[in-house]
Amino acid sequence: MAQLVFGYFAGVIAVTAMLVVALRNPVYSVLSLLIMFFHVAGLYVTLHAEFLAAVQLIVYAGAILVLYLFVVMLLNAKQDDRYHRQWRVAGFVCVPLLLELLVLFAGGKMEPSPLFSADQTGPGTDNAKAIGMTLFSTYLFPFEVASLILLVAMIGAIVLAKRDIGGSGA
């Protein structure tokens, strides 16, 4: 059962991920990514990361992708007529890498942890609370740094995207 669920999610994630890259219309790409995000969230749920699943949906799917979509619309991005010229080379580079990684990962002696199973007990229901507690105690410092990152992003976005800056600039 669990394998079936995983198989579904993994399959959809992989396929949509490829579609994101393969589809030449940006809008479609964004939409496939959206589908993928939903399934990733689903996968999180199977992994007892409910909080992250929620964040994935709200922040990623809800906020970030909408932003993408918005910019795609704003800039009226049309369908790409072709891929980058180097796509063959890229294939030559990435396929062996993928194969190597697969071999390495599959061949590794990574035995499943005895704790790691599909049973529904565990911290599941407390996941959000647990993360919340950790975030504001143990991870206080990273949290503050992350806030600074957001600050920089905000100002940076303003600085770069605003049209004309008073008095100076071209």
Binding site: H84, Q86, V89, A90, V93, C94, P96, L97, E100, L101, V103, L104
Partner: protein, 631 residues
């Protein structure tokens, strides 16, 4: 020690004139002449001392000590030295006086005096040396003076070329000398004559493998090699075949120095060296034979060229070459005394001949071609008579100094063995030629109709007393030196254990033959140049190739030019263009260009496209993972 003043006085004279010559100018002789005359007087006292068998060594200072190589500059006086001192200071004094007249009014007057003072000093130090290195140092120093004096008229290209040539040819000889010197040091552990001589006997049997660096074997006697190397220096300095080429060209220098350096003193240094090192040479018969043969070759060779030259100084110069050949041959045959004796008499009469030439040249306003002379015996009587005396001495006319020394020499040669007899015959033949060309000179210059340039013909007159004075003194010496008993004075220096064979009848025979040869030569010259003035041209046409060969000095200069000078220069240019510029430099530049070129290529990777950069990153990861994947 007053004897130290003998060389030091000329040195002082040189320093004063060299440093202050700019201010002294025309008064230069007031410094130079007294110095050298004083030096001569001291030399006379040395000679007198030496008669008493007084040998002495005066150490001056330590030149260099480096391990077992220790060289002291000092003065070593024995009979051989004493004779040489007398010759050097004597001729030098006369030439100094002569120069006052000859060089008067020249811009380089003081410079000239400083040079000959330096030469006198160097030559004296050379003969006074008690070790090979001091000999070598002053050997080169006299070469330098010769160079400077040949090039005295430095605005004449021919003079400069002659000076350079003289130096270079001598360098070739000195190359051998230097190697011989080093070999001597390595062999004997010392450069001091006495130590070398006392150790020489022990090394007589040693051999040296000349092909050792190349893995071959060619054993030669160490002493022979040593002697031959040293003799190379003598070949250069004493203008022996094949390094004789510089001496005739050296006549580009002012005549006084031709007399002093290129006739009487410096060129005899080679003979002196062989004589000085007699104990060494005596141990190597092979080297002795080589010396004798080279001397004989030179003797004949020089005489044949002298027959046809038209430049009067060149005639005398080739005569010098020839006479030096006599001396060297004598030394090679073991007749050191005869060689030195001839050296001494030759110094007198050859200096006389050169100065006589100079007198004529001055009188004719620097005319040196005998074809433009003639009939000068009336206008230049003193010169004429002294010149005749000199020529007689050269020709070995009885009762002149040349007669005694040459006869002595030939007799000694004859009595020294089969090689000596062959060479003595060559010597007789040369004596014939010598008499011929020397009187050719006399007859063409002084007899017959005047062919002097009409512009100067009226002004031709006997030069002043400072010129004729030395001529007269030298003329007297050309006769007197025959009667001074020089051979017996020198005999002890070269005394060997070998029994001296009495000359006997052979000696008298040779003497007669030599006298006859001389007289025949004079008669021949009289016949050809006085009685039949047209004959020389006919003879020249008859034996065209021989005549041209002799006139052109048997094309030795041309051959050397082709063989050595031009090949060296073209090799230098070719090496420079091919190797230095072509290979080494272009390799250096090539490396630089290759790196820059690589930079250009690598730069193209930086295409400006972001995704190429990303691809490079991905490729980097792939490579790294692959490396680990494979390992």
């Amino acid at each position: 020690m007053p004897y130290a003043l003998i060389p030091l006085l000329p040195l002082l004279s040189f320093l004063i004139l060299g440093l202050a010559g700019h201010w002294i100018k025309d008064k230069a002789h007031l410094v130079a002449v007294p110095a050298v005359v004083l030096s001569f007087l001291l030399s006379v006292t040395v000679f007198v001392d030496a008669i008493d068998g007084h040998n002495m060594t005066i150490p001056l200072y330590t030149w260099l000590v480096s391990g077992s190589l220790d060289v002291h500059i000092g003065l070593s006086i024995d009979r051989l030295t004493a004779v040489m001192l007398l010759l050097v200071t004597g001729v030098s004094s006369l030439v100094h006086v002569y120069t006052i007249g000859y060089m008067h009014g020249e811009p380089g007057y003081a410079r000239f005096f400083s040079y000959i003072a330096l030469f006198t000093f160097s030559m004296l130090m050379l003969v006074l040396a008690d070790n090979l290195l001091q000999l070598f140092i002053f050997w080169e120093a006299v070469g330098l003076c010769s160079y400077l004096l040949i090039g005295h008229w430095y605005e004449r290209p021919s003079a400069c070329a002659a000076a350079t040539k003289a130096f270079l040819v001598n360098r070739v000889g000195d190359f051998g000398f230097l190697l011989g010197l080093l070999l001597a040091w390595v062999t004997f552990g010392s450069l001091n004559y006495h130590e070398i001589f006392s150790a020489a006997q022990e090394t007589a049997a040693q051999t040296i493998n000349l092909l050792a660096p190349f893995g071959g074997i060619w054993e030669v006697s160490l002493l022979t090699l040593l002697c031959l190397l040293l003799f190379t220096g003598a070949v250069g300095k004493s203008a022996q075949v094949p390094l004789h080429v510089w001496l005739p060209d050296a006549m580009e220098g002012p005549t006084p120095i031709s007399a002093l350096i290129h006739a009487a003193t410096m060129v005899t240094a080679g003979v002196f060296m062989v004589a000085r090192l007699a104990p060494l040479y005596n141990l190597s018969p092979v080297a002795m034979d080589v010396v004798a043969v080279v001397g004989a070759l030179t003797m004949v060779f020089g005489a044949t060229i002298a027959l046809t030259q038209t430049d009067i100084k060149r005639v005398v110069a080739y005569s010098t070459v020839s006479q030096l050949g006599y001396m060297v041959m004598a030394c090679g045959l073991g007749a050191y005394v005869s060689g030195m004796y001839h050296l001494l008499t030759h110094g007198a009469f050859k200096a006389l001949l050169f100065l006589g030439c100079g007198s004529v040249i001055i009188a004719l306003h620097h005319e040196q071609d005998m074809r433009n002379m003639g009939g000068l015996k009336d206008t230049l009587p003193i010169t004429y008579w002294t010149f005749v005396i000199g020529s007689l001495a050269l020709a070995g006319f009885p009762l002149t100094a040349g007669f005694f020394s040459k006869d002595d020499l030939l007799v000694a040669a004859w009595s020294s063995g089969s090689l000596g007899q062959a060479l003595a015959i060559a010597g007789l033949f040369t004596a014939l030629m010598t008499a011929f060309y020397s009187f050719r000179l006399v007859f063409v210059m002084f007899w017959g109709p005047s062919r002097v340039d009409p512009h100067h013909a009226d002004h031709v007159h006997e030069p002043s007393g400072v010129i004729t004075g030395p001529l007269i003194i030298l003329a007297m010496l050309s006769i007197a030196t025959g009667y001074l008993g020089i051979p017996s004075f020198l005999e002890p220096v070269f005394a060997t254990d070998a029994p001296v064979e009495p000359h006997g009848a052979a000696g008298i025979g040779i003497m007669i033959a030599a006298t006859l040869a001389g007289l025949t030569g004079i008669a021949g010259a009289y016949y050809v140049y006085v009685l039949n003035p047209g004959l020389p041209d006919r003879l020249a046409r008859r034996w065209e190739s021989l005549y041209q060969g002799s006139l052109n000095k048997w094309y030795v200069d041309e051959a050397y030019d082709r063989l050595f000078v031009r090949t060296t220069m073209s090799a230098a240019v070719a090496l420079w263009k091919r190797i230095d510029v072509g290979i080494i430099d272009s390799a250096v530049n090539g490396i630089g260009r290759a790196i820059a070129w690589g930079g250009w290529l690598l730069r193209l990777v930086q295409s400006g496209e972001t995704q190429h950069y990303a691809l490079a990153m991905a490729a980097g990861i792939v490579v790294m993972v692959t490396i680990f994947f494979l390992s």
